[in-house]
């Protein structure tokens, strides 16, 4: 038979103010881990949701992203008539040749950021069927117009409908705003492909091709056909795979998570241990009394572990509220968070704290409480009643 849980709960409550520093450090560890996990999962969600499983990305062999690839007009003209590519109502292949450059743009804050500028043709809106123009209209070819991803609006100087955005060697008039279900297209600026290639002085007109595989067609056969063509040295992969690989770059954030959250976690664990050592010290006579009344060592150990766990849970609750408030505050004050991906372009990510992020932080706090409480609880359980009572 063990001591009632209310015994541990009331002891935590009785010391709540004295324990507040420990609770604060545990809360900090919770905030640090939950926010970083939320950043990582938000970034991954954004990148992974960008790809469509029906689309293929075609790049020069050896390029791992749009920015480092290049493609000739001849290759584009040949590939678009391959079998297995979907066609629109007019019978045209649904193929979007694209030019990607990463110019720097001056942010409203004055700093310069690399933005992903995607040169496209009208077919882009068919291939990327989740991209919708939500304000204004699509740009007209060869007229120096741009359509902005919703995430960039207001972030860069001139990034508003009707204003002019400066990058490359010219200014681009903003004629439309596009949304793409929170995916990374919302971090991009779309302009005419030919205009972008000439402005950026590129020897080739395109970086790569996005195309829609026809319903019922053999996707793998199409991939082989593209990759095996001896004229062009290309590779093709599903768009979902392409963005999943881009998301891998976010793994470097895990390092940051470990570097920041783990030391705070260790500090919190030491804080919890210190708090519990103080509790054992202050309650030596009480422990001796319980042992004298006949309670076993295991009972004492459990009661003190439960207390340490309780302190950690209060810390978790404070930290969880803090995390949600912080995420809401970041969203309200700073808007989306700019991530510089492996390609050096800025991805704009809406920070969203998910249940999984909080669950991981909960486990972290619980581990802090239990590991931090183990040694003090062990010491309490080892006290011999005759020695503990002598302190009275």
């Amino acid at each position: 038979m063990s001591l009632p849980i209310s015994y541990s709960v009331r002891n935590v409550r009785a010391r709540l103010r004295r324990t507040s520093l420990t609770i604060a450090v545990i809360a900090l560890a919770v905030v640090a881990s939950a926010v970083f996990l939320a950043l990582i999962s938000s970034l991954q969600r954004t990148l992974v949701s960008t790809g469509s499983p029906a689309n293929l990305v075609v790049l020069r062999k050896g390029s791992d992203n749009d920015g480092s690839s290049m493609l000739t007009l001849e290759a584009y003209q040949a590939i678009r008539f391959f079998d297995g590519i979907a066609r629109n109502a007019e019978g045209q292949p649904i193929v979007s040749p694209e030019m990607v450059v990463q110019p720097t743009v001056r942010a409203v804050s004055g700093t310069r950021e690399n933005v992903l500028a995607r040169g496209v043709e009208p077919m882009a809106l068919v291939v990327h069927d989740r991209v919708r123009i939500v304000a204004g209209r699509m740009f007209r070819p060869s007229s120096g117009e741009a359509v902005l991803g919703a995430g960039t609006v207001g972030r860069y100087q001139g990034a508003r409908l009707g204003e002019e955005l400066a990058f490359g060697r010219r200014r681009w008039r903003v004629v439309g705003i596009m949304e793409a279900a929170g995916s990374s297209f919302e971090s991009e600026v779309w302009v005419d492909a030919r205009e972008l290639a000439s402005d950026a002085n590129r020897p080739f007109p395109y970086s790569g091709i996005r195309l829609r595989v026809a319903a019922g067609a053999d996707r793998d056969a199409l991939v082989r056909r593209i990759e095996d063509d001896p004229r062009y040295a290309l590779e093709a992969k599903p768009e979902t795979d392409y963005y999943a690989e881009q998301a891998k770059s976010s793994r470097s954030l895990y390092v940051l998570l470990v570097v920041l959250a783990v030391p705070v976690g260790i500090a919190a664990g030491l804080g919890a241990a210190n708090t519990m050592f103080a509790a054992v010290q202050a309650r030596t006579v009480e422990i001796g009394t319980l042992r004298a009344l006949g309670f076993s060592r295991a009972t004492i150990l459990r009661a003190f572990l439960l207390e340490s766990f309780g302190v950690a849970m209060v810390g978790f609750a404070v930290g969880a509220v803090g995390t949600l408030a912080l995420a809401a505050g970041i969203g309200a004050v700073l808007g989306d968070i700019g991530f510089t991906a492996a390609t050096f372009t800025t991805n704009l990510v809406a920070l969203r704290v998910g249940a999984g992020d909080l669950a991981a932080a909960f486990l972290f706090a619980a581990a802090i409480g239990i590991i931090g409480g183990l040694l003090p609880a062990w010491r309490a359980a080892r006290l011999r009643p005759v020695e503990a009572l002598r302190k009275a």
Binding site: M1, S2, L3, P4, Y7, R10, N11, R13, A14, V285, E286, G288, T289, L290, R291, A292, L293, G294, F295, S296, R297, R384, P385, V386, L389, A392
Partner: protein
């Protein structure tokens, strides 16, 4: 003459303090019959509390036998001693040793958590014990809300709630004024004479000898003298009290 509840044979207790051996008790032999109210008296450092700890199984002797309620305590492990105490001994301390975060009722219920009783039975018994010590109305109060005398009565209720054979009291009146001390001594006497509990008490209080049946006088770890107390001489009526 009833069977002795307590039998000590040639009991010694030696502590190591640094390089020195401290002989807290030397070759003490005594028996205490069931239902007696006994006092262990003597100056500070005479070994009274050591003897009390050995009787209650809180400590173990360095030599000799300690047999209480038919059980030889020498060989029991810490946890086995704890289990034995929970069944056979009620403990009363000088500074009451109540658990501050628990109410009076919960403090009294505490030893019953080690029994098979369900919660309803435990609370009923705890209430009864509080009624016995006259504190039924204060059941919901925290120890800090009670006077010293009241706290000690709660501690007595906690000691008797499991219906133990032996009640051990370490200076139960040491922290109380004369009026409260008398109340506590009367209560202990009633437990002994009316409920047939064996009560062994360590005390410095010279007046206490008037309340008990028998006094064991120790000096420097040696049992010097055994004599009848006031209650023993008179075997006072049930209401108790010094002659």
């Amino acid at each position: 003459m009833p069977e002795p509840l307590i039998a000590l044979r040639d009991v010694s207790r030696v502590y190591r303090r640094g390089a020195d051996d401290v002989h807290a008790l030397e070759h003490v032999s005594l028996t205490i019959a069931g239902g007696l109210f006994a006092a262990l008296m003597g100056p500070s450092g005479s070994g009274k509390s050591t003897l009390l700890n050995l009787l209650s199984g809180i400590d173990r002797p360095s030599g000799g036998d300690v047999v209480v309620a038919g059980k030889r305590l020498n060989d029991l492990s810490e946890d086995a001693l704890a289990r034995w105490r929970s069944r056979h001994v009620g403990l009363i301390f000088q500074f009451y040793n109540l658990i501050p975060v628990l109410s009076a009722l919960e403090n009294v219920e505490l030893p019953l958590l080690l029994t098979a009783l369900d919660r309803r039975e435990r609370l009923a018994r705890a209430r009864l014990a509080l009624d016995v010590v006259g504190l039924g109305a204060r059941a919901a109060h925290a120890p800090a809300e009670l006077s010293g005398g009241e706290q000690q009565r709660v501690a007595i209720a906690r000691a008797i709630v499991t219906d133990p054979d032996l009640i051990i009291a370490d200076e139960p009146t040491g922290d109380l004024d004369a009026r409260n001390a008398d109340q506590i001594l009367r209560l202990l006497l009633e437990l002994s004479h009316e409920l047939q509990k064996t009560v062994v008490m360590v005390t410095h209080d010279p007046r206490a000898s008037e309340w008990v049946d028998i006094v064991f006088h120790l000096e420097k770890g040696v049992l010097k003298e055994t004599y009848a107390g006031g209650a023993g001489k008179a075997r006072a009526p049930a209401t108790g009290g010094p002659p």
